[in-house]
Amino acid sequence: MKHRTKEAIFGYVFASPVIIIVLLFTIYPIIMVFYYSFTNYNPLETQKFKYPFNPQESIEFHVGMFQDEVRSVDEIKDSFDLFSFVQYDVGLNLNEEQKQAVAEYFEVEKLLEDFVDGKLNKILTTSEFMTTYMAKKKNLFKKYTPQLVGFDNFKRLFKDEYVRISLVNTLLYTAIVVPVQTFLAVLLAVAANLKVKGVKFYKVVFFLPAITSSAAISMIFWLIYSRPGILNRILVALFGGFGFQPVDWLNNPNTALFAIMLMNIWSTAGYFMVTFLAGLQDIPSTLYEAADIDGASGTQKFWKITLPLLRPQILFVIVMGTIGCMQVFDQIYFLINNMRNITISFYIYKNAFEYGNMGYASSLAIILFGIILLITFLQRKYIPEEY
């Protein structure tokens, strides 16, 4: 074997744990989302052809007689209703195609004869049972395949009021949080880069929110924002004289989203600060020295030197921040209980796990994916990376 091929093989072998994990847990789900978005996929039905059951017991229950009491097929024929038997006692919800197949090809006579002869007292899976008693079209009853519904899921989201509300909320959220958090992160980085006493302590303080779990942060802010909470007390102490009334920040639909924005800016600014801190190390100190000699003020140096030279980091932070903001979920999940203030990813979750619309949720996820892709593309196009 050639040396190069050998090396390549070794390389892939060493990389295989990561490659396999990414394929299995990232690429495969992404492909499946595209597939599900065109179907009416219902996760609760995926196992329905694997249910084990005892056909004799099910028929006994269905006709209301025990097997040893029944002498001939005629006795039970009338009380046997095929569709309700298959749907409720075998446990298979049928689609239109399957219903038609059952109506045409299911051998009721054979089933009831086997029942009277006592041949059914054994455990079968639902698919074994159906394929035994279907004369034709057995393939319809082998495994669960969601029905293709074409673009129905996508058509539906244009009429859905909450898609509009949640998208508007998400975009508003992104439009406010991203610029503010980026700017704040630059300021924090510049401050943390100063050579003053105890700067390490400040770095830790700024970064701490980024490594705290969002559940814990949410709980703390829930207390801060609640009606008898500290924020209202401070505001009443300051502005009570001007007639300020305590506001229930998180339950008032007009303030809830802004309250979450504030909290998120606070918790992520420190995280992006680290990126800018790294960027600041790359700015040659000679530039500042030259500016000093020319008599530039601190503000001038910040706007004319620091900010322009941080451009690659700014682009990176804006892109990452936008993606994060467009997908904001946990804080909404913990703190928002008004449907007016939900974001799109929370609405996807609701549809997938609470409303039983996995297919629709998948199509929403694709729309969100498309929007993020487009925004990122535009950002890369219109904010040049190099100065």
Binding site: N40, N42, P43, L44, E45, T46, Q47, K48, K50, Y51, P52, F53, E57, S58, E60, F61, Q87, Y88, D89, G91, L92, N93, K159, S226, R227, P228, D248, N251, N252, P253, N338, M339, R340, K350, F353, E354, Y355, G356, N357
Partner: protein
């Protein structure tokens, strides 16, 4: 020879340990008292059965979502909690085993259970779960506040208008927050029923736009907006109704037995001041039933064994649970042994209560519930009118419940 005996014994041991069936039971973890009760039940069962062993495997956090994922992956537990609110969705998806066969085969005494609770877990004339316990709603009132303002206590025979009258008296005599109400649809349901209304018509379309239901909705909202005798718990600075009541921020709330547990635990001095009566009525008496059943997984390979466990859980198990965790027993024979006088009202309310289950074509009411709650929030905040809310329900209900 000794060696041979030993190895035969070893083989027997191995073989017999393979013949033990493990039944996994799943629910959400409860408070420490409930957890202790359930592990006692499991221990007791395992001690008395050699061939079946039970494993309690609770799901913390998003129970329904986790359960759904496990079921769809074919890894579901054998027995699990089913909240009445998601019961119909699971029953319609055929993931629950119908239990009628086992009930009739073993002559299991299903009639000992409160009929409303059996009915709650019946779908299409088939029983898909057996209630492990239940809760109902009743009216909590603070005797001290009523005494102070010299207003007569609420009684179980009151109508909604008596309630309004007493609340108004409190307000007139200087008590600013007579009652607290939640903007939750399920708290409105007993009002709708007692006004003679219903939730859905025979064809499963909404009946919330019928005049009785609208009158109930109007009354409920008017308590807050027109008569100004009711406030949301969050407005009072409390997390939920029971919290608002326990902190004595309000004189009356409609709550379940869990609020009683909360008061006893956190605000023991409030218990002595507390009176509990049935919810007011009008055309008829009404209450809400919140209940959880033990159901069997249709995929379970060991259904007969699982049924043995299920039987134990709702008979002897329930007895332990009622004693230790203070829940309400779903069996009348166990309920009659419960001597806690404050729980009597909750037991009595089950006779005229309605389970928290709204039939829809898919069995899923979650979406409609979110939308209606959103409307209720808007109504409480005065952002929309009753007419607008009813109109919105009329126009959109079918979309909310369609698959």
């Amino acid at each position: 020879m000794k060696k041979l005996v030993l190895s035969v014994l070893m083989i027997l041991l191995v073989v017999s340990s393979f013949s033990v069936v493990t039944i996994t039971i799943t629910g959400w973890p409860g408070n420490p008292a409930e957890e202790a009760a359930i592990s006692e039940i499991v221990q007791k069962f395992n001690a008395s059965h050699q061939d079946i062993q039970v494993r309690w495997d609770p799901i913390a956090g998003d129970y329904k979502q986790t359960l759904m994922t496990r079921l769809s992956g074919g890894q579901g537990p054998d027995l699990f909690y089913v909240d009445i609110y998601v019961f119909e969705e699971l029953a319609r998806a055929n993931v629950l085993q119908q239990l009628d066969l086992y009930i009739s085969r073993d002559k299991f005494d299903i009639d000992d259970f409160y009929p409303n609770l059996v009915e709650a877990f019946t779908f299409n004339d088939r029983v898909y779960g057996i209630a492990k316990d239940f809760s109902t709603l009743a009216l909590f009132y603070n005797k001290e506040i009523f005494d102070k303002y010299e207003v007569a206590y609420p009684t179980s025979n009151d109508t909604w208008f008596d309630l309004l009258y007493k609340a108004t008296l409190l307000k007139e005599r200087g008590y600013e927050t007579p009652m607290s109400l939640a903007a939750d649809f399920n708290r409105l349901i007993p009002v709708i029923h007692s006004f003679g209304g219903r939730l859905v018509k025979e064809d499963l379309s909404t009946a919330l736009t019928e005049k009785e239901a609208v009158a109930a909705l109007k009354f409920y909202i008017d308590l807050a907006s027109k008569y100004e005798v009711a406030l949301l718990p969050t407005t009072l600075g409390a997390g939920w109704l029971g919290d608002a009541y326990a902190k004595e921020l309000t004189a009356m709330v409609m709550e379940g037995p869990w609020a009683l547990g909360y008061i006893r635990e956190e605000f023991p001095n409030v218990e002595t001041k507390t009176g509990i009566v049935e919810l007011p009525g009008l055309v008829e008496k009404s209450s809400m039933i919140y209940t959880v059943a033990w159901s069997m997984n249709r995929q379970s390979p060991h259904k007969n064994e699982a049924w043995e466990v299920l039987k134990f859980l709702v008979t002897e198990g329930q007895e332990i649970f009622v004693q230790k965790a203070g829940v309400l027993g779903s069996r009348q024979s166990i309920a009659s042994k419960d001597t806690d006088p404050m729980k009597k009202v909750f037991y009595d309310s089950v006779a005229f209560g309605y389970p928290w289950r709204v039939p829809t074509p898919t069995g899923i009411f979650a979406k409609a519930d979110d939308y209606i709650n959103s409307l209720l929030n808007d109504l409480f905040a005065g952002r929309i009118t009753i007419e607008k809310a009813v109109d919105t329900i009329e126009k959109n209900y079918d979309v909310w419940v369609k698959p």
